[in-house]
Symmetry: C2
């Protein structure tokens, strides 16, 4: 006897923004950053297991919408993400995102989630995971250039995973720097607001650039970067958007997530196609050297890769059982008889 | 003063399966099929305005998950869809889908919707739109081979748009045929259950094949197809999945949606790469001939293209104002100050 009520198969667990915030507070932001870094590391260690593709972008003069799919042969994930630097003028986020995890064997989604917050967390967790392998020994000071939506998460991840305790802050808008200092007060940082990028990097062991302008900006010029630092460049992440002078790239050893994507989107879009880079997973897996000496300039040209989102969604899914942090979304038509979609519709009348 | 309540920008209108069914009944299924065909036709007529890409597929032995993005420069849409023929064994749908429409200029989603039902409707509407241009004059009889989830929608669309009143039904499982006859009773069809595909096509002006097996099946062999018919082949829609003998393709004039995709997924994957095809939008726009004479065999090698989903989502969006057919989904993080994602999170504690 056909029933009208949808079966459990029809419903997809959904984590809203409100529930994501509850979850982060329940777990603790630092703990979650550490947990995410662990999942990302585990997936980087099985890099070859993934069916990888550069993200699929739709460009407009104002920005870009991207789909980032990836699969490990059992599980499938994708993220929808936009990047629109001028959005803040209309009160919108520069970057918003949501993502989905599905079973590859039957194609059914098993999780839909907000990913604006989760992306900020996984980006920071990735930066910290990478810095743990590339930053100079004893690094405790980070310059944070660009004090927008990503910056606090970067600071806390580098604190939790790499021992950063001093922040040297700069943004072209001093109010952004004030915001970071307000948000991070009482979090165990010594913070200094600097009048320029050049001032911010004085004495810094790690330099994080995360600015939002969509153009070939030169946040750092060649003579500003001294020996021995680790550059964590996460703001150059789409065609036409870079932050560093090419001469810095030429002096540094450059580490990337997925070269076919980074050569299009990252800082190295400014360099020849055969510019040498090292895949960061190789360093994490012990297959390629990371930092070789104290004088070396290392550069993580981070653009954000689909596997990191996949790891983040896996992490999220594993936190949900036994909690009320997800709703059930009536997303999939699921008739009693799979061949009788029409009958389900007819009976709903 | 920052508030805790999310702003309107944070919410994405969401059409659930239950609301899609309510909407279809409110509008009327035939009226909706006609409406969808109108939107698809309008978008086919501005074909060059679209930024097109073949769908992005993740393959497993059991099936495929695909993303189908497209943009007209102002609006962006994508569909998530799976195809897993063996899903019915575990009570799941072979094909499920959902989709999203966004503003390309700011990247914010404006509609998220179930698309399992909507895909069945748009596929049927596309078949009917195409048949209106290619079917022989006075066609009133359709063979429907494969009586699964798509079949009733195909029948009703071809009835509403092309005047089909007689159905000759065949499926390897007689219960599927019984299901169609039960579902379509009282809908103005004369229906005959046939013992074989060969029997089903006797006297048919239009032959629709929509079977689900993922292999190179030969639903129709060469000597079965006589002169003058229109073939509406919608079941051959991914690599390794075809329904027609190559010799039929060689005898027919073949019309397709988007050649780069159809050559990979459609019936013509069996043919050489330079096998001649006509883009169906050219026929609809009057730029290429459709049916030239009564003896010609025309074949629509339909695989489903992203523009059709885009049209369907546009249609859906235009039906929603003033109704309660959508919910508000808390999908986008939207802090008061776009640069203060962290502050929004902190205040939620």
């Amino acid at each position: 006897m056909p029933t009208l009520a949808p079966s459990d198969l029809a419903f997809v667990p959904f984590v809203s923004v409100a529930n994501m915030m509850r979850l982060i507070h329940r777990i603790g932001l630092r703990e979650m950053l550490v947990g995410l870094a662990g999942y990302i590391e585990a997936d980087f260690l099985r890099w070859d297991a993934f069916d990888k593709t550069p993200r699929i972008a739709a460009h407009a003069p104002e920005g870009v919408i991207e789909l980032m799919p990836v699969s490990d042969g059992r599980c499938y994930g994708f993220k929808y993400v936009n990047g629109h630097p001028k959005n803040t003028r209309t009160g919108r986020q520069t970057v918003t995102a949501f993502g989905l995890l599905a079973e590859l064997g039957n194609g059914y989604p098993v999780l839909l989630s907000e990913m604006t917050l989760l992306t900020a967390l996984r980006t920071a967790a990735t930066s910290a995971l990478v810095a743990r392998h590339l930053a100079p020994k004893g690094a405790d000071t980070m310059a944070l250039i660009g004090n927008g939506a990503q910056s606090e998460f970067q600071a806390l991840a580098l604190q939790a995973l790499c021992g950063i305790t001093k922040l040297r802050l700069y943004d072209i808008d001093p109010r952004a720097t004030e915001k970071v200092m307000r948000n991070l007060s009482g979090q165990g940082f010594e913070m200094i607001a600097c009048p320029s990028a050049e001032a911010a990097i004085v004495g810094a062991h790690i330099i994080t650039t995360c600015t939002a302008d969509k153009n070939h900006a030169t946040i750092l010029s060649e003579n500003m970067v001294g020996a021995g630092v680790h550059l964590n460049a996460i703001g150059g992440d789409c065609p036409g958007k870079t932050e560093l002078a090419p001469a810095i790239l030429a002096r540094a050893d450059v580490f990337v997530e997925y070269p076919p994507q980074t050569r299009i989107e990252g800082e190295i879009q400014q360099m020849p196609e055969d510019f040498p880079v090292t895949e960061i997973w190789q360093v994490i897996a012990g297959r390629a050297p990371g930092r070789r000496d104290a004088a070396q300039i290392t550069l993580f040209d981070g653009v954000g890769f689909a596997i990191e989102d996949f790891s983040a969604l896996r992490y999220l899914r594993d936190q949900l059982p036994g909690t009320d942090f997800c709703e059930k979304l009536d997303l999939l038509a699921d008739p009693d008889d799979p061949r009788d979609l029409f009958g389900m519709l007819a009976r709903a009348q």
